[in-house]
Symmetry: C2
Subunit: 412 residues, 2 copies
Amino acid sequence: MGKISPFAPKRLAKLPPIEGVRIATAAAGIRYPGRTDLLFALFDPGTTVAGALTKSKTASAPVDWCRQHLAHGMARALVVNSGNANAFTGKRGREAVALTVEAAASAADCLDADVYVASTGVIGQPLDARKFTGLLGDLARRAKPDAYEQAARAIMTTDTFAKVATATVRLGKAKVTINGMAKGAGMIAPDMATMLAFVFTDAPIAASALQSLLKAGVEDTFNAVTIDGDTSTSDTLLAFATGAALAEGAPKISRASDPRLKVFTRAFNAVLADLAEQVARDGEGARKLVEILVEGAVSKTSARKIAMSVANSPLVKTAIAGEDANWGRVVMAVGKAGEPADRDRLSIAFNGIRVASRGARDPSYVEAEVSAAMKQPKIQIRIALGLGKGRDRVLTCDLTKEYVAINGDYRS
Amino acid sequence: MGKISPFAPKRLAKLPPIEGVRIATAAAGIRYPGRTDLLFALFDPGTTVAGALTKSKTASAPVDWCRQHLAHGMARALVVNSGNANAFTGKRGREAVALTVEAAASAADCLDADVYVASTGVIGQPLDARKFTGLLGDLARRAKPDAYEQAARAIMTTDTFAKVATATVRLGKAKVTINGMAKGAGMIAPDMATMLAFVFTDAPIAASALQSLLKAGVEDTFNAVTIDGDTSTSDTLLAFATGAALAEGAPKISRASDPRLKVFTRAFNAVLADLAEQVARDGEGARKLVEILVEGAVSKTSARKIAMSVANSPLVKTAIAGEDANWGRVVMAVGKAGEPADRDRLSIAFNGIRVASRGARDPSYVEAEVSAAMKQPKIQIRIALGLGKGRDRVLTCDLTKEYVAINGDYRS
């Protein structure tokens, strides 16, 4: 506990300001002493918004609010708190959201419908929004365009490092920026694969196009990450586009398929992928980043299911924690996925070393070589099914005693 | 490691002999030094057999053999080894089965098709059947009708105690006996929920009736147990009926729906349930037995899916290991099941103490009371959905640091 992930970046990327976005944070004392736990972001008029939300049937009150209001596609403010997820809090949960939205709308001078909210932390305890609603007016006044790092820190829970990513690309005549932040740690699984992530850009993209872009981008990034197969009640990814780059000569984009958006889309997806990978690297108690690569499946969907079955198998994950190239457990996890697989065509490699081929241990298998490979901090498990052309990739981490310690003690 | 489960029975039940069944065990040195690892059971002519086998797409060579031969429904011998699962061993795996079957058929003086085999232990390493095929002739000569306890011990792997169960009931004019044994520990999940289980009876039941009986009985017993959501490549449950009680006045049963079989069916299911519960109690590293009871679901199938989602959630299981009544994680696991659920109708109780009702913490919630309940060795989580009449029950155990230790070190 309290250990920082071996994957924590030495230095955080420096995120440049984005015209039309201002951010402030505060220590509202919601749960954690001596740290910030409140993020308030304000957007200039005309900012569009898109979102991907948890599919949980027991979603939190803030998720319900976002789902209701995403349809109109416009945003002026975002309020995020850590320490309390405001999930499964019943009528009082909805009241806490209403109180937050009202205070934020007043501070940002906008409609309630233009405010988005997200909460992360403990589930099932009433969130006392009055702890922070009184702070929003002051935060609006001191919000600054270059506070992304503080923002990423304010939304952390059991994360051991702040997660940010950035990209700058040309869109038409303008240089546009994409900034992102995420918090992850436990309870990470599709769909969505992170608890909270926010992406900001000055590109002028219509809400419906932004929504298509986000939906496509999430599929192979956040939805391809799993820590423990558990899907949060609070998973929220929101993307905000201020459109400020229009004044610099960027074209107005109304469809995600617009060919002028190609370079932007690639950068946007790269920011999502970067954040999603950071979430996997910072899985609770993780000492290894694990990439499951499935090829030769009958389809991409089938490959994804098999990769997820392997990525979520406690027996595979504990073996990796023990630096044991236990490919037998990989076979087991492939088998239980319920997808087409032929035991006698299957081959498996750990970090490029083939350990199994055609239904049995590879003849070239050398224990010492494989053992050395398993000591690496990043482990790739490549599974070739030999049936078709379907392939997919999923990221996860190992399952350690620290995971059990963190999650056995979290609430108490 | 090496710790015995707190749930180990003080004394093993004493299993009476069953006419027509003889058993012998040996220490063949397959993997474990200084203990038995080979079981040979011989059945009198006329013995019927039924089976439930893993649905894994990468099933082991012995499972393939059993699946091929169960159709004809007759059995004369059973060979079980522990220490090596003979799974994912390719052509050599099939050869090891063929060698075993041939030696067993010769020792039991029967057809190859009347021999059943099962293997449990490490996956992916060739099984050298010659280590034990030479022993089968001698074992056949010294097989005895009262060696059930030795048999249950010979099939153990990481089990911390031997698992047996027995029942004696009237069938027509005769007293008939049902004896069962199982081995479990890790990699326990439907379908099947145990790696190996064998049931023996002297009741005269036709193979097709025995198969129906077994299929129905498994549903709420072995298939309602999960340790870690991982399905083995080797799960095998076989039931053998010698028919010896016919001579004592038991009626010949040709259909599972025969009303004369009612009392027997109840006892048969009780033996399966007893064995399945012992498997859950002896889950790797388990310190708590956990019963998930779901009621008010839209159907039994829906209740089962929700119960399994909760039972397999690492976050729920680690919370129980930490004696934390973290019902928020139960809400999360209900939500991720993808089944109909209404957050605002949900109520949850731990060991009879209601902690959440109608979408929020129960007003009567007293932390001290709930904390005391969580210290019990058996935890019942009751989830009331308030939607319909569907209910179901699943058994599991907690997820402890010992689970990770056992599975991180198992192979090395």
